[in-house]
Symmetry: C2
């Protein structure tokens, strides 16, 4: 730092591979006690300017970095938070993670990430791991299969924040969008265009978000006095293969629906793929709308009408809540927004 540029040799103060200086090393070099070094570093307590300078220069010379492990042991907690998503490569989770990371950095926290691939076993392992790491909190898209594990984590005093869905048995703060509202808006929009046979490619009914969205779809029908054709309502897992097969199933129903609602980005991708596969034209043969405003929604033609979830913002909120150790009552619920583009049109006469 003093000389500017990577000058080859100052003295004998070069750090050696694998041997990191400890606070004791610094104390010795500065000719003071370890307590003093600690005081200088933390800024707590008084040190004479003279001593301070000596310590600081020793710190620089040896490129000393206090060990988070040593500190963590003493303070009985880390500044780490665990983030558990279903699939890091899904851009929705990616956006969410981005929000978490940004806020975490801001709050001087570090994020250990797990990707469970929707496998409850993997989820469980990650919970266990986070607990062993003594993380300060965990942000997760939880599955009910691990209810007991989540409860235990909570009882151990780990701050929990759930995202997207909720486990009703547990009083855990959450960040979610208004799922019912979003699905309702999408469906209502299609109904207003004149559609009466609307397919619904939904998420698993095991999650609250899956159920809420489906209910939104159903309520939009009910409020318009339209009956839902159960053949057109298909819950699906979020794997690409599964989603594609289920999309085909809807499109292969007795009579082709005139419109289709996909309840997240993976399902939307599958729906679009299936539509293409069957050589159908959007919106002439079928209208398509979906949850999540992914980058490709405006790249395809026609651009897709969507309901957006502010994933990044939800991530930021989650990080804030988890660090604060917020109560259940501080849960964040944000509204979705309908973005109308060109993938839906009135059904053809005769349909």
């Amino acid at each position: 730092m003093t000389a500017g540029g990577p000058g080859p040799a100052d003295d004998a103060a070069e750090p050696v591979a694998g041997k990191q200086p400890t606070i004791k090393t610094i104390a010795a070099l500065a000719g003071v006690g370890v307590g003093t070094v600690s005081r200088v570093l933390s800024g707590r307590g008084y040190v004479s300017p003279d001593t301070r300078v000596k310590v600081e220069s020793a710190v620089r010379d040896l490129r000393y970095r206090p060990s988070a492990i040593g500190r963590g042991l003493k303070e009985q907690r880390t500044k780490n938070i665990g983030l558990l998503v279903a699939d890091v490569s899904n851009s929705y989770y990616g956006d969410f993670a981005k929000g978490v990371l940004a806020e975490a950095r801001h709050l001087d926290r570090h994020v250990v990430v797990g990707s469970s691939d929707d496998d409850p076993g993997a989820e469980r392992e990650y919970i266990e791991l986070f607990l062993e790491q003594r993380v300060e909190g965990i942000i997760a898209f939880p599955s009910r299969e691990n209810l007991a594990a989540w409860r235990e984590a909570q009882e151990m005093g780990v701050h929990l924040v759930f995202a997207d869905r909720v486990l009703e048995e547990l009083s855990v703060p959450s960040v979610t969008v208004d799922n019912h509202d979003g699905a309702y808006a999408l469906t209502e929009y299609l109904i207003a265009l004149g559609h009466r046979r609307i397919g619904y490619l939904g998420g698993p009914r095991e999650t609250t978000s899956g159920r809420e969205r489906e209910q939104g779809y159903r309520d939009a029908h009910g409020d318009a006095g339209i009956e839902v054709d159960e053949e057109l309502v298909v819950p699906s897992h979020f794997t690409r293969r599964n989603a594609f097969a289920n999309a085909l199933r809807i499109l292969g129903a007795g009579r082709l629906p005139t419109a289709l609602v996909a309840s997240n980005n993976i399902l939307g991708e599958a729906a679009l793929g299936a539509v293409r596969h069957l050589d159908l034209t959007i919106p002439d043969d079928i209208s398509l709308v979906m949850f999540d405003d992914v980058p490709w929604a405006t790249l395809v033609s026609p651009p897709i009408t969507v309901v957006t979830q502010p994933a990044r913002r939800l991530g930021r909120e989650a990080a804030r809540l988890v660090v604060r150790g917020a109560e259940f009552t501080s849960s964040v619920l944000v509204r979705t927004e309908l973005v109308v583009r060109s993938s839906a049109a009135p059904p053809r006469a005769g349909d």
Copy 2:
């Protein structure tokens, strides 16, 4: 575990919020010494079956989880590795991260993630943070601005693995694709179709990958005896706004190129957006090919011809290398693969 189901009260053995049992607690409950508990848990050394049972049951009763902090302090290292990407929400990095996480889990490692947004300052902070955390290794997409910091990390004995690009001054193992080859294949393919005015929307020339890809584009021209029109070669940062502006710049050049190569997914997205913005038709008005086989490449019409990078596999390899503490000479270089779809066609007669 014994009773199955979350039975309300066994005894007084319920864990209390915030107070986690330590090895000493277990030892006391089992009526043995802490060393014995440690031996049972680690499986090293002998313990009588009798004692083992007592310890194990105490562990279960108290839901004891050994503290990674305590262990880390003693063993002078953690099982954490740092992963530093430019943008977690970019699906390329997401895929890469997925590979890293999968392999890390397999190797019993945990991953602390940072997202630098291509900001060298943020990158530096993350390096610092990883070092304080005493991570075992770091996987990163490095920027040359932090050469000194990376060197220092290496000197401290932290295992480094670079991805995508390389810092030539440092002898660090890397996982990369054959950048030159990929860009060459893309360009050569266009030339074979008859194109002579091919635009190139590339990455920053500061990175080795940016330079190598551009050189591939140039060499394909050279080998075909075609001169490159410098006006058509535009390096760009990977921000969406920047990329879009640069794409427009190429498409607004003196004479419209008949084809365009985008050197990664963000640039491809921008290129496609710009093409749409100008109301050009692919491939009639212009052919478009790109690096990275993103999900949307087959969702748009016509589907885009790409060169694929096996991001997930690269992530796995990176994790393996970093845990092994591999040498520079174990660097992994994988070939790209040209996937021909329908976004390129011979130029129109007269162009």
